[in-house]
């Protein structure tokens, strides 16, 4: 596949917001082709040969880091994982000191996860590598939105016109923000469902509809996307208890029944079973697309690495 335009302007993937629909479509098409290759057991070992990919994770993550590692290796990159201990995360100097260290290592592709919104953008100004945001604070998680969109597209054949309900702790969710930007750009109809205490200010101005009642928000939905509720949100007083949250905002068969009969259920993982999602729904092979999300994660990350590596070659 070849493209006549730079898919990721600036040579980084820092956010979905600002990407144009043709860019998103091209990334998804490329990811789809990698999904097929991966299923066929084929690899592209030469595409990133000689390139160094560093997974720089300031926050713990197993699945995202592993997914990027697998994507990099399948394309032939040398992959190094750097985990920065929590004790030094809060020292901002560390972030820019790390940048100069990485520059000295001649890293080509830098995958960053950080607890602070905007940290990958700050790094991108200081490092020579292409930066991929693997989740920054409550800002964005762009590759998650890509893999979610690819999963939906494969299940539903399209994004345009679909009703997608994003449910739970939207306030603290970078996954939700990236999905909102991507899905609205692709003309899906996005609904946010959750208690007002977990809804960001002026959420309605993001081109979405806001609901505080699950059945109203899920009525007629094609896709139900659940978000992880972090335990510390309860201690922060934003919801009184997990049992109350599950009763009113957790996804179970009864609430799912108001969605379209062929609605799919998604979750970015890791799941809190019995808090935001009932196991009976999460493990239902008819409805749950959660396993496919993980599979599409590797394909989407391969597509992103591929596109950024093309820019590297172009600039070489």
């Amino acid at each position: 596949m070849s493209f006549s335009f730079p898919i990721l302007p600036g040579g980084h993937l820092l956010a979905i917001e600002g990407l144009e629909p043709p860019h998103i479509g091209a990334l998804l098409d490329l990811a789809e082709s990698y999904a097929l290759l991966n299923r066929g057991g084929k690899t592209q070992r030469d595409l990133l040969r000689g390139r160094t990919l560093i997974n720089l994770f300031f926050e713990d993550s197993t699945r995202t880091r592993t997914s990027f590692e697998l994507a990099g290796k399948r394309l032939g990159a040398d992959v190094i994982n750097m985990s920065v201990s929590n004790s030094s995360v809060n020292k901002g100097e560390t972030l820019l000191d790390t940048a100069s260290t990485l520059n000295a290592m001649h890293c080509d592709l830098l995958v960053v996860r950080h607890a602070q919104s905007g940290a990958p953008a700050l790094l991108s100004q200081k490092v020579s590598a292409s930066v991929i945001n693997a989740g920054d604070g409550t800002h964005e998680h762009p590759t998650q939105a890509l893999l979610d969109a690819l999963t939906i597209r494969r299940r539903k054949g399209r994004l345009e016109g679909l009703v997608v309900a994003i449910c739970g702790d939207v306030l603290h969710s970078r996954v939700a923000r990236s999905n909102i930007h991507l899905l609205t750009a692709m003309n899906a109809r996005v609904r946010l469902v959750g208690p007002p205490t977990l809804m960001p200010a002026e959420a309605g101005r993001l081109g979405v509809e806001v609901f505080h009642d699950m059945k109203a928000g899920l009525a007629g939905a094609d896709v139900v996307m659940m978000l992880r509720l972090q335990k510390e949100r309860m201690t922060g007083g934003l919801v009184p208890s997990s049992r109350e949250f599950f009763r009113f905002f957790g996804l179970d068969r009864e609430k799912l029944a108001v969605a379209r009969p062929d609605a799919i259920v998604m979750h970015p993982g890791p799941m809190n079973r019995g808090v935001e999602i009932d196991s009976a729904v999460a493990d239902d092979p008819e409805r749950s697309a959660i396993g496919e999300q993980v599979e599409m994660g590797v394909a989407c990350r391969m597509a992103v690495l591929d596109v950024l590596a093309r820019d590297l070659r172009r600039n070489a």
């Binding site: 820019l96 919104s117 905007g118 920054d136 800002h139 964005e140 970078r174 923000r177």
Partner: protein
Amino acid sequence: MHDLLFTGARLLDPASGLDGPGDLLIRDGLILDHGSGLGRPDGVTAIDCAGLCLAPGLVDLRADIGEPGHEHRETIATAAAAASAGGITTLCALPDTDPALDDPALVQFVLRRGEATGCITLLPYGAATKRCEGGELAEYGLLKEAGAVAFTDGRRAIGNARTMRLALSYARAFGSFVVQHPEEPSLAAGGAATEGELATRLGLPGIPPAAEAMMVARDIALARITGGHVHFAHVSTAAALGLIRAAKAEGLAVTCDTAPPYFDLNETAIGDWRTYAKLSPPLRPEADRLAVVAALADGTIDAIASDHQPRDADDKRLPFAQAEAGGAGLATLLGVTLARVHGGDLSLLAALDLLTARPAKLLGLPVGRLAKGVAADLMLLDLDRGWQVKDGQLPGKAQNTPFDGRALEGRVVGTWKAGRRVFG
């Protein structure tokens, strides 16, 4: 000391409404006379102003000057140099230093250090509460005797209603007032930007604008029951200004100031994670900026303060939520205010009034005027001289300006403190 005669000036004195050509004569550091045809006494040094504006030096109600405790950001000497370059001759220093100015000896220390600069009158605030921690009241009487100009906890809101009540009440005994950072702390905790669409998009923890209005409402109620005088610093929202306007109409002892960022910038300045535009209170939506401009014009706002908050690169080169809030403001106080004059929102005299006579009156100081017998604190201003704000090129140590790149019109070309030239 030499006598000085300024000739051919456009004299501007907001206190008397004077705006016209004339001369001004200084003897022994005091203004001896001004007007036309003063003649030229023997031994006088004449300065030809060539039609430039001669006005009182500015009185800045609010600046963090770094010392003691944060000398890597700014010192009294570097702040004084920046102030002189900005036309400021009287500067009030915040007490939330390290240690906080809650002891008469510390107030005297800052006063002495200010005097030693020779170029500004530096007036420290006393801490409103011990260590500026919002608990027990500091020693207002002793602090005032030592030279404290008024009382505040600086960048920290006095959050406890009972403490604020006591502060307003007790300050009356010494004819003083309390300056509040109007922001309800429990709503502002952890916030990095004004709550709203932009903060939501950037994934930044928000501070609702109502955090300002509710603190203002509370303290107006406390001013009403104590009879004390509350002054709100850097007011930035339409809602708070509406409450202050009503309190003034009611006749309560309520005053306020704002700072240039709140009438020149709106929240979009923080886009692309620009930490130099991270301020406290945070920049607001455009509707609030317009309300601040309107409140400057209708007199609701009593003064414009620089709200100078020096920060170094290490404080600012961080992810947005972790970066320190605050912007350098001494050098740009006048220029950014004049933008509202050039923009047609304020008359030149009204703008200067907000920077000279009105803050001086608030503090009860005999400065900020071109009157016979008062200290010859003056600035010479070229209203038409354009310049561009550039971080790295500002006078003083702090370079963290939120106005980087801003083109301004009107620049100080000379500053005199008690008749002695300290800039230009």
